[in-house]
Structures are given as structure tokens and as C-alpha cells.
Amino acid sequence: MFTLKDYIVPESIEEASQLLNQNRNNVILGGLLWLKMGNKNYNKGIDLSKLGLNTIIENESSIEIGCMVTLRQIEISKVLNTYFNSLLVKSVKNIVGVQFRNCATVGGSVYSRFGFSDLLTALLALDTHVHLFHGGVIPLEEFINMTYKKDILIKIIINKDTRKASYQSHRKSATDLPVLAVAISRYNSHWKISIGARPNKAMIALKSSELLSHRPDQIESACNQAVSEMKFGTNIRGSAEYRRELAKVLIRRGVEEICR
């Protein structure tokens, strides 16, 4: 169990940032689901719930998801059930249960860049940016590989294009973490294949995506390319070999679903 010395609900994002940087053991509180699994001793816990960051906003060209939006809000969001073949909705649906998803936040999932994250895998297949208080607006792909600097993730910004997408995952049981997660999208003729829970954090299979964009009929080659261009690992949920085989199957299913 973790410990906290102090709990603060700041009134502005500036105040939150100032508090965060006051002490190296100060921490932003998301849904607490992962944080409470650890044993760290924190100084101040900073709760962003009074900053109005719990909304999903549809603009003319983008969808903005505030960091305090819960996974359940994503699941029942009208706009996210409309765009990208409900990719984000499908990605969060199997995460434990409704009560868990009513607690877990988008900011917690994305900022932490968990290897097992379904949401991160799905967001990566879209045209997604993250808005950081200090770091500004940067592509999610860049953010995923950045070192963990102390910053506040304010919101996620997704370009509202006409992309088609598919979400595929394999789990040992319905509510478990994924053994492997795959999100695929096609915008015009450009494909994006994102693979997460390898068990490392999600990344785009660049060469495979490019191959498919040029030769959409070459699904098998794209599957083989994807598993050869990224690292798969072994953990309690599956071996690297097993994940490679799963990846090929899930990529094929995703591509076929989009082509249907």
C-alpha cells in the first residue's frame, strides 16, 4: 500500500503544476488503480478533479478527451461510438468491469504509458496528440518514447478524420489484462498497425504499415513483417513465440475487418 502525507485539490492547472514540481515525491492522482498497487511513499497527492478536465469535446476537426475522463465515459460517449468504428470504445470495453472503468482515467492510462494499455494501443492507431502543460502539443508517438518528465497531461487530441479502424486483443479471461493488443486503421490508402502488450508498450509497426499501404493485398507479408520488426517478450501471460503467432492472427483479423 502506498502512503500520502498530504492531499490537495488545486483550483488551476498552474497551481497543480507548481505543486507537482515542489517536491520529487509529489504525484498527480489519476484513478488510483495502479498507484495503489505500489508501496511508494508520496508527499502530496494532487487531485485534478476540480479543473473541468473530465469532458469529451467534439470540435470541427478534432475530438478532445480531458485527462480526468474515465474509461467508462469513453465507452458510452456518443461521439466515440460514432468515429473510427468505435475503436476506442472497443479498446476499453474489456478492462475489468464497469466500476473499474468508472474510476480509471485517460490521463492515468496515457501518461503512465503502461505496456499492457489497451487504450494506448488504440490511440496510437489514430492521428493522436497529447497536450502537456509544459511540453505543449506533441504527437502521441513521440510522447510514448519520451523519458518520464514530470508534467501534467491535460488532454488527448484526436484528429477527426474518416479513418476506419479495428481493435483486436487476446485475453486469458474476459476481464484480464491483454496477452496481446492490436489496433489497426486505414485512412485513404494509408495503414497504421499498432501493437501493444508485447508485453512492452504499444508501438507502430512502421515497415509493415508501409508495406500494407502499398500492397493491401499482401496481408501475410505484412503480418510477417510486423513480427520481425518489433520485439516481443515473455511474461506470466505468454511467451514471445506465442505473442508472435498471436500478432499475425490479430493483424490479419483487423485488416480483414477493415476491408470488409
Binding site: 468491469g97 464497469v98 466500476q99 474510476c103
Partner: protein, 158 residues
């Protein structure tokens, strides 16, 4: 830190440690229906409602319910007893340890979903684990309960 919250329509003003979890706070105040099962946010036993949203009290800081309304099984006893009769008559109650959290989530589902299909019932309740009774009896009880009370459930999908 001092907090003021409403639990089952009663106001509480309490001075608590900032890292106290809601489950411990509620049990400390005598709301013993709230059970700790897995302690890894996976079993649903500690389910309560905050401002009518079904949540896991094992993963929420008690200080964060300041100025909010918390509902535990003790606060909706009449409805819980009504559903409990359906569970019992389907033989879907053995040790009963998971029942408070399970009932809280069934009643939350009843408020949130209109005419749920069997699939959407299963999806809504998939985060509620039961290790001895089994899910088939529970599902029968839920369907009969929904059909017998306001809300109902689509029969063609059952």
C-alpha cells in the same frame, strides 16, 4: 484532514488520514456490507456508489468523497432485499461474501441500462467475481428480477 460527506442520506463530518481508502473509511463507520475481496481492483466486492456511479471503494481515497454522496448496500436495503429474494429462490447464494458488491452493481445496472440484453447484462457484471455459487443462477435471478420489476429485460435474447 476533515471531510464532510453524505453516506446513505446521513451527513458525516470526519477527521481522517489523507491516504485512507474509502473501503476502510466506510467499514470504520460501521458500513460492514462493504467487503474487501481481491484488493487489486478486480473482484467488485467493494462496490459502492458515489453520486450514483458504481465504483470500487478499494481504489478511491476517502478524502476524495468530500462533499459527495456515497451509497452502500445499507442505504438501499428494501431494494436489496427484493433482489435478494430472487437470488435465494434461484439457489444462487452460497457463502454470500460477494453478494453486497454484486447486488450494488446489479442495482446500478438496473438504473443505467434500459431493457438490457443477456450480453449487456454479462458485460455490465463481468467485473463482479463469484467463486462458489456460479454465474448461471445469478443470471437467472437477474432476468427474473428485471422482468418482475420496472426496467425489464429483452426475452428474445435470453
Amino acid at each position: 484532514m476533515q471531510i464532510k460527506c453524505t453516506i446513505n442520506n446521513r451527513i458525516f463530518v470526519e477527521d481522517i488520514q489523507v491516504d485512507m481508502l474509502l473501503i476502510d473509511f466506510l467499514r470504520h463507520l460501521g458500513f460492514l456490507s462493504v467487503k474487501r475481496g481481491c484488493d487489486t481492483a478486480n473482484c467488485g466486492l467493494c462496490t459502492v456508489w458515489i453520486d450514483n456511479k458504481t465504483v470500487l471503494s478499494c481504489s478511491i481515497l476517502a478524502v476524495s468523497v468530500n462533499e459527495k454522496h456515497v451509497t452502500t448496500l445499507e442505504g438501499i436495503q428494501d431494494e436489496a432485499i427484493e433482489f435478494g429474494k430472487f437470488i435465494a429462490s434461484e439457489g444462487a447464494e452460497q457463502c454470500g461474501y460477494c453478494s453486497p458488491g454484486f447486488i450494488m452493481n446489479v442495482l446500478a445496472m438496473k438504473r443505467e441500462l434500459v431493457n438490457p440484453t443477456e450480453d449487456s447484462i454479462k458485460h455490465y457484471l463481468s467485473g463482479n467475481l463469484c467463486r462458489c455459487t456460479g454465474y448461471m443462477g445469478q443470471l437467472r435471478a437477474i432476468k427474473k428480477f428485471l422482468n418482475a420489476t420496472r426496467g425489464g429485460c429483452l426475452s428474445e435474447s435470453s
